[in-house]
Subunit: 275 residues, 2 copies
């Protein structure tokens, strides 16, 4: 117990992943993970700064926040770091005109971007939009460029929806990388620049922050490489079978809800009882 207390000493800010941590997405909008609404409320009543740091690239920030608010979460647009607005800024700064292989839900984030005569490809979690035809179109745009630029909104391998595991943008990024013999630029976790952006927006230094997520690579590994502390929950895509136990708690099934996991660890007390 003392070990956890020491590990969390000096923490001033909490970065929370959204999908698989607060809720499991799905066609019906998804469902909150039991206890997570209350956990966020308690964090917000505490002295800790809270920011939401997602790789969700299917929805605009407005849509995502509206969905979470309807599920009872205390969250506002200004508290969310998400890859589409970050990418939009980069495109403007570098004068890039993207061919967009993205979900319709996030298209509004690129309303102000010139997409004529494309000189790069932006790929996001397009879901059903990842048809062979659409992938081939993005591939041909890249092959026609002398110096192909591929920007990927995150590089997640997969995520969990209520219907089961879903392939994420990272898989399709790898397909285009391989076909074109190039390397994509990633805007999203685990990119250090992306974590730095979230920390800056929260106003907390890396060594004062902890990342809570379900992805051992995107959330935990990425945050740790930036000098942050990190905690993997056992909900969402977490699987003991695939990744082994990360939390110091008793074994549990991969469908355990979030607060039960945290309550099994001294960490939960440190994080959730301080408010």
């Amino acid at each position: 117990m003392a070990a956890w207390g020491e590990r969390l000493a000096g923490v001033r800010g909490v970065l929370l992943d959204i999908s698989g941590v607060l809720y499991d997405g799905g066609e019906d909008g998804g469902t909150p993970i039991p206890g997570s609404v209350e956990a966020v409320a308690r964090l917000k009543r505490s002295q800790l700064k809270v920011r939401f740091c997602t790789n969700d690239s299917q929805k605009s920030r407005r849509e995502l926040v509206g969905l979470l608010q309807r599920q009872g979460f205390d969250i506002s647009e200004g508290e969310v770091t998400s890859p589409a607005p970050a990418t939009s800024l980069i495109l403007k700064e570098r004068g890039l005109r993207p061919h967009l292989l993205i979900h319709d839900g996030v298209r509004s984030e690129f309303d102000q971007i010139d997409t004529s005569n494309p000189n790069c490809v932006v790929i996001a979690d397009a879901g059903e939009g990842f048809s062979y035809q659409n992938m081939n179109k993005a591939f041909r745009v890249l092959m026609d460029l002398e110096k192909p630029v591929l920007i990927s909104l995150g590089k997640g391998r997969y995520y969990k929806e209520t219907s089961g595991l879903m392939l994420d943008v990272g898989a399709y990024m790898k397909a285009l990388e391989y076909a074109c013999g190039i390397e994509a630029e990633v805007v999203g976790k685990p990119s250090p620049e992306y974590f730095q952006l979230a920390l800056k927006e929260m106003g907390v230094e890396a060594h004062e922050a902890i990342m809570i997520g379900d992805d051992i690579v995107g959330d935990v590994g990425g945050a740790q490489r930036c000098g942050m502390r990190a905690l993997q929950v056992r909900t969402g895509k977490f699987s003991r079978f695939r990744e082994g136990a990360v939390l110091e708690s008793e074994p549990g099934s991969k469908s355990q809800p979030w607060p039960r996991d945290l309550k099994q660890t001294p960490c939960s007390r440190a994080l959730l009882s301080g408010g």
Copy 2:
């Protein structure tokens, strides 16, 4: 010129790639590359043994050979090494029951294979079959296996059809490899076992054979690693822009037909005037 003669000394057998070398595929069945029908006929009139070694995994051998015969090629089923029948043998030998992510055109090659309760995934050039839904289904089968086995019929990056460049199975293989954290087993060029199979079927040793193809990795590199000689044509997916000149001939456009390329090289005389 003498250099080419020396390089081809002792060659007894010719392995010919099909797509991009003999013909460019397309929705209408594709079109023969000008001069290639006659080039094959001349090779067959020569003392050289000829075998066709393809990574085509969209069509059964019967369908592929029928299509080429209608275009005027002198070719029979027994002269073709292709990945689907080779995979079918492997599945039987190892008692594997595949979930098939393949094109309907090649499904008949797996007629004798038990596909109930799958314990592996076989992926081929599925074309439009590479929908998000189908990819996700294959992904979930792999993730449900304790030791996921993914068999890929070739690992080509792309190929050329009359309508333009098309993503090949290798891109989708990479997507599943990344998502599952596994490495696929490849049945097809440039796998050494596959070239050995083709050589055995032709009855020629590696040092006595030359591979003619349009893919610098799958055809040329793979054959050379097996101890064969290799020649890259300037048709099909060949692009000076992307791969530089490989043949020792004058610069030509990437849409140059096959015999013109070969006629520009001393190699063509060695190969095509011997009959």
